[in-house]
């Protein structure tokens, strides 16, 4: 446990001391606030129009589906890119700088090393997500809305981003080159979205059901609609576990070369 925390602390510290993290955070803030501002403005216009037409009747445009959903989707898209950049160095840099020798000859297991690195990546990624949560929070000061669906969407987002962290870490463990790691992480992260699309390509109903269950899109849209389903949570957790496990195997196997 101590070894895990030491490694997590070291990597997190090195991320927070690197320009990479701050430049990413700055650019994301710029884009998110611009887009959020625009969709909130559009929403306000439509809401006014609807109020005039319906004369106080219930209904009209919904803040969650019109503004928050768009915001979460946008945050999600940019997090794919950001997470690939944040995780690229986790293992690749250690191998390149030969500091991996230190980790592998210290009394920590491969599992502890992977856990430490995953925690560091997760903390960095989630801190960006918390940054994006500031916009809906600010909206609270000017509008009343139901927190439930927003919370569900954010839980989904955090789980999905945790998957990307695990995927990016796995990509990083495969190479010494951070550039290659980033490319692989992007291909893997985007690639897993297409697993669900295979359901169109198979005939047997069992296979269709399987691929539909493996579809990240299906699970994520559940969260976006405001539901936290056990199956979806389990799905994301197993994705995370699978990638961490693969990384652990790669680290362990470096002893045998």
């Amino acid at each position: 446990m101590r070894g895990t925390l030491a490694i997590a602390g070291k990597d997190l510290r090195s991320l927070f001391y690197s320009p990479l993290f701050w430049v990413t955070a700055f650019l994301l803030t710029l884009i998110w606030s611009g887009m959020y501002h625009i969709s909130l403005g559009e929403f306000a216009q439509r809401a006014n129009m609807a109020r005039m037409q319906m004369q106080g009747a219930e209904g009209g445009p919904n803040l969650h589906s019109e503004v928050f959903t768009r915001h979460v989707a946008l945050v999600h898209f940019f997090m794919i890119l950001a997470v690939a950049a944040l995780t690229m160095r986790l293992f690749a840099e250690e191998k390149k700088q030969r500091t991996f020798d230190l980790l592998l000859t210290s009394p920590v297991t491969a599992t502890q090393i992977v856990a430490g690195k995953f925690l560091a990546g997760l903390a960095a990624a989630w801190s960006l997500i918390l940054l994006s949560l500031l916009y809906p929070l600010a909206t609270m000061t000017i509008a009343n809305f139901d927190w439930g669906p927003l919370a569900a969407a954010y839980i989904g987002l955090m789980l999905l981003v945790a998957c990307y962290v695990a995927v990016g870490m796995f990509a990083s463990s495969l190479t010494e080159s951070a550039v290659l790691a980033v490319v692989m992480a992007l291909i893997f992260s985007v690639g897993i979205w297409f697993v669900g699309a295979l359901s169109d390509a198979v005939d047997s109903p069992a296979m269709v059901a399987l691929f539909e269950h493996l579809s990240i899109g299906n699970h994520f849209s559940d969260f976006m609609r405001g539901g936290v389903g056990v199956a979806s949570v389990v799905f994301f957790l197993s994705m995370i576990f699978l990638n961490c496990f693969l990384t652990q195997r790669v680290v362990e196997s470096s002893r045998w070369r």
């Binding site: 925390l5 690197s18 700088q97 020798d101 002893r255 045998w256």
Partner: protein, 329 residues
């Protein structure tokens, strides 16, 4: 403390080390000596659990490296060939990180870090980023990192590489100082290093141990051998034969010095050179001189060397090489 049995590591077809057997006792400082590519680093990587061998066993302080790696790693401080330092940390932060990683008691961390800094004289740079340090200082940070957890065993892969002469002397003194308290295995291809700090030497070449002895033992082994090089203007065929029959002479070999000399001019071409292995006694040298003069060979040069560690090293490693080449071809 360290026991290595039948250790073999192959990279594909190539055997980097081939059935090594040796042990290092508690408190000993053992020098692991060998030319480039001998397999020193490979052996150390296996002992530290960084790498698995193809076959064989390593036992450290009663724990098998492959069955109980964590226990073994707790007890070892390892300095790899390239010091494993993080450029974006300061010296102090790095040492604290290593101490935590090695799992030393939390309360002891500050004092151990201070001690490691003091021993490697890094006090002046303790708050500097490692990436801004010179190569020699980075090497010292690496040594410091190996020391910081106060391990029972230190495994140092070429610890003085890249240091200036004064620091080399300092590190050698440090190794001597650590000797009683820690068990040390250090690799080098610099001979004075082992002479300065080791109580025992293991010479390894092409993955095999070619000699293993105490420093005194090896010196003694060398004392029993000497070499006389002569250059003569005329060498009747009977000269070499006559020389080899002298008491105290072990072998005579026409050396290639004459062949080299040929390019330098006609005079050099007239000289022949012989390398004569002797028992190291002065009597033998005297008899050789008398014989050559008596044979009227026209002695122009006679040099007598008592073999030093350098010579023995060259002899051991090069004869092995010839044998191996013989086997391969």
């Amino acid at each position: 403390m360290i026991e290595v049995r039948d250790l073999t590591k192959s990279y594909g077809q190539h055997k980097a080390i081939d059935r090594l057997n040796f042990s290092v006792n508690k408190g000993e400082v053992v020098g692991f000596l060998g030319p480039n590519g001998a397999g020193k680093t490979t052996t150390m990587k296996i002992i530290t659990g960084f790498m698995a061998p193809s076959s064989g066993e390593v036992n450290v302080a009663g724990h098998d490296v492959f069955e109980d790696p964590v226990e073994v790693k707790k007890r070892i401080g390892y300095l790899p060939e390239t010091p494993p330092v993080y450029g974006d940390m300061t010296v102090e932060e790095y040492l604290r990180f290593v101490a935590n990683l090695k799992g030393v008691e939390r309360a002891r961390v500050p004092s151990l870090v201070a001690r490691a800094i003091e021993k490697t004289s890094l006090g002046d740079v303790r708050r500097r980023l490692i990436q801004n340090l010179s190569k020699g200082f980075r090497q010292r940070v690496g040594i410091s990192g190996a020391l910081v957890s106060d391990p029972e065993i230190l495994i140092l892969d070429e610890p003085t590489v890249g240091l200036d002469p004064r620091q080399v002397a300092e590190i050698r003194a440090l190794i001597k100082e650590l000797a009683g308290h820690h068990t040390i295995l250090l690799s080098t291809h610099i001979l004075p290093e082992v002479q300065a700090s080791c109580s025992r030497i293991i010479i390894i070449n092409r993955g095999k141990i070619v000699a293993e002895d105490s420093l005194g033992g090896i010196t003694q082994r060398m004392a029993g051998a000497g070499r006389v090089t002569i250059k003569v203007r005329r060498s009747p065929p009977s000269l070499a034969e006559g020389l080899s029959r002298l008491a105290g002479v072990r072998g005579v070999r026409a050396s290639d010095a004459s062949a080299n000399g040929r390019g330098h001019g006609a005079i050099a071409a007239l000289h022949s050179a012989f390398e004569i292995e002797t028992d190291g006694g002065e009597d033998a040298v005297e008899r050789i001189a008398a014989h050559v003069v008596g044979a009227g060979a026209g002695l122009v040069d006679l040099r007598s060397e008592s073999a030093d560690l350098e010579n023995v090293f060259l002899q051991l490693t090069s004869s092995e090489e010839q044998q191996n080449q013989g086997v391969e071809s």
